[in-house]
Amino acid sequence: MNMINNDTICAIGTRTGESAIGIVRLSGNDAIKISEKIFISNNGKPIKEMASYTMAYGYVIDERKEIVDQVIISVMKSPKSYTREDIVEINCHGGIIATKKVMNLCISNGARLSDPGEFTRRAFINGRIDLTQAEAVIEIIRAKTEQSLKIAANNIKGNIKNKLENQRKELLEILIELEASIDFIEEDLEIAPYEDLEKRVQIVYKEIKELVNDEKKGELVKNGIKVAIVGKPNVGKSSLLNAISKKEKAIVTHIPGTTRDAIEEIIYLEGIPVIFIDTAGIRKAKNLIEKIGVKNSLRFIEEAEIPVIVIDASAPLDKYDEEILIKVNLNKAIICFNKIDIANVINKNDFKKKFGENIIVEISAKKGIGIKELEGKIIKKMGSENDFDIQDKIIINIRHKRILVEVISCLKNSIKAMKNKMSEEFPSADLKLAYNLIGEITGESATDEIINGIFEKFCIGK
């Protein structure tokens, strides 16, 4: 519970549908100090000397002094800022990946990832917003709550959620044993031996650690699930992306990548960031056909967790289509037959026989037909039982990861206490904490750690 904390928080605040900029926003006593550490100004002027509400152009550098991104920094000094604390906004240009790198640098330099809604919370705690404004904010919160709650509940899909729920249940079972041995010492209870309990905690520890510690998973946490939209020119890739993003307009961010010749769009499907990579971005290049050779498409397919292959259903298959279909791992892929509103000349039965019914969707990107079905297929892929690879990568968002990291440290402490033969109340202290923390993710927490939990359900400000 960080009700009235003055530590420095940071978050990515992107302006949806407006610009191509990702903003990392810092607020708190050390906002300026932290940004000084990672920013090199073009004019050489330190941030703390900047006047409030001015901007500076420069570079964000990482710990190896390598440039992460070209940025514009703006400073709003306390008390004349949204939160009434010092605020620094770092406007990144390098796409979502660079933006996230910048945020991670802020965190590694002492900022804390903000809880959802924390900027607004600070704003009204510090008396920045009056009742009317606050109520307006709350209205927005309210409106979004249902959605956020739904997202929170669905945030971790299937296997992972089950895994966490099971581990939480197991912790509860262990806690029951430990607590019984304390409070009911006078009863003739058959408490599980301490060593057994320790082993059981070890297992929970390993299970949860596995969920978090995989480096690649970590990347995914930061970067989201990649979905590459591939297909020959004019097959409707861009229309498809537009159709998806139009539907999800409220939570779409357009970020033209500078690091690759493709358009990335982040769309939240069930609360999971999904990065759609539209290879159509290269169309502007000369020598069109050459550049979008199969080779290039394959590169995107390989990088993506889920390739979506778009095929023109109004025309017969050509060499390009066939080559992709042969080379793609169809366990991962989804095949989209577009333009079914124009004509439908391809015999889908052959496909279904060959590749299975489940990977095929018939759509019309222009008319918005079948888009929902496609999203459903993508979601299913993310949480599909047979594809542990992807599924295990969906460690949710950074907040969840942060909680799990804390859970792991609690479990570690409790194991240590048990190893040292400290009595039950000591490991119990850590296990209770871990139990409540997992509950914050799975949404089953009934702890007194209220206020934070509350605001966490209000997915705003981020």
């Binding site: 519970m1 960080n2 009700m3 009235i4 919370r121 009204f124 705690i125 008396g127 009056d130 009742l131 606050a134 109520e135 709350i138 209205e139 919160i141 309210r142 709550t145 607590e179 304390i182 409070d183 009911f184 010492i185 006078e186 009863e187 003739d188 040292n420 033969k421 400290m422 009595s423 039950e424 109340e425 000591f426 119990s428 202290a429 007194d448 209220i450 206020i451 939990g453 509350i454 605001f455 359900k457 209000f458």
Partner: protein, 622 residues
Amino acid sequence: MKIDAFDVIVIGAGHAGCEASLACARLGFKTLVLTINLDKVALMPCNPAIGGVGKTQLVLELDAMGGQMGKTANEAAIQVRMLNRSKGPAVRALRAQIDKKGYESAMKRTLENTENLTLRQGTVDRILVDNGRIQGVSIESGVTFYSESVIVAAGTFLRGRIILGSSEYHAGRMGEYPSMYLTDSILKAGLVMDRFQTATPPRIDKRTIDFSKMAVQPGEDIPASFSFWNSDKIFPNIPSYLTYTNDKTHELIRNNISLSPIKSGMVTTHGPRHCPSIDRKVINYENKSRHPVFIEPEGKYSNESYLQGLTTSMPAFFQQLIVNTVVGLENARIMRPGYAVEYDYLLPNQLKHSLECKTVANLFFAGQVNGTSGYEEAAAQGFIAGVNTALKLSGKEPLILKRSNSYIGVLIDDLINKELSEPYRMYTSRSEYRLSLRPENADLRLSFFGYSAGLLKEEQYSKVLDKNLQIENLLHDLSKKVINANDETNKYLAKLGSSPVENSTTIYKLLQRPEIKFSALVKTFPDILGISISDSKVLEQVETYIKYKGYIDRELIGIKKLENVENIAIDINFDYFKINGITFEAREKLSRIKPETLGQASRIAGISPADISILMVAIKQG
């Protein structure tokens, strides 16, 4: 007929009533205690014991603030044991067998000899409320007593109904008149009540027990005390005995289960899960081949023996059969049968943290009538209600204990915010700050409040301050005392199974090692320490602090965070229906419970985090 006027009237002279009336009278208020039977003051109607895990904390906290229970327990204890000895200091607990008559007479003597306190027999039929404020009470004889304030500590007496086999009759406890009319009067005042049930085992004649077939359970000859103001002493050691039920017992009960009131439908209300009857145990734990039965002395001069574990309200004749199936009890004779009692209790969420009614000024409730179970829980509430009555009459702020400073704080906060489904009993696991709220530091945590209220004398409080200072000084000294890394040191460490030191270190650091005990260290290095430690309690505190610092500090962080929300006060007249955006159910609930702080609001069952955030905005903006 107006015959007398008092500052405070306490209804009931059980554990809550005694503490409440003593606190008021000691603080100078003219206090009348009305009890249905003057021969039953501070009666222990169930187990002959005080203390135990979680409850020890309550007794010591009470004592630290100037309560009575600990001192009287010291007088009447006939056997003590330290529970959870192998565990850490936070969950260790003293449990004492009590000479019931000794306790009653010691407590009654205390009441009778307390200035400003009048003890009187009488059954209160009515509370007098006028204009939302208590005016006094009237008793069955038609006499009315006026007072500024009333504390209801009626225990199980409100429309008490005893169930024993197929018979049932109204009684407060077995052999005692019930209080049949007070409930109506409380309901008329606009308060809501419900029913709970509790039960007790049969008592048998010691002379008819074959102790040779049982395991003796002696107490421990350890110096101990339930009070910070008495020095530790070795208690008498009258043993308990342990035997077990067996297949014969279980078969007998199973074959005649229709006799059980829980089966026959005679008892439908909720009883405490921590005290299941033997009939319930046999039904619920079919596979268990035996259940323990502890035979505990009811008193120094009595042959009555309490059968812990054989609670039942099956017919009296049948209880005799059950008892006789148990090894060693083949020829045992019942002196009084077990029974169940069902009674009205006040839904405690109608109270403030001071235990004053939210809707009726100067009317307080304490003890079992608030839905709790246990002498210690009752006494703790009685004390708080008493002190707060006195503070209110003095025009002072109430004494509100917090979850973060005491088990009593946990107890009251839970009562007000939880929805009780059974009589509430204290457990250490109810406390979020268990490692900090240790029995032995209750004086350091709470005596300030007793002193401020006026229940502790100057010299008592300065004793606590002195202890605190000694602890701080010792902690400071230990972090400065260097111990050299030489052969002598390392030989000593090896002897304790501890790894050698390579560089000189401080005693503080050495004590962080679990295997290094302070007492041993003091013996080995008396001159190096160069610190005179007169008080072993100081030493214990310091050692606990050093060894568990990491844990304690973490709890402190939690406490600080909690206090941020706890400190956001909500006006008692706050109109929840004016706030847009929170659910109707939440508004209704908040209006009913009227939380005093945002933290409390958040603990109310059914109030969502969303509601709290909106509420916070509304409060912040006035």
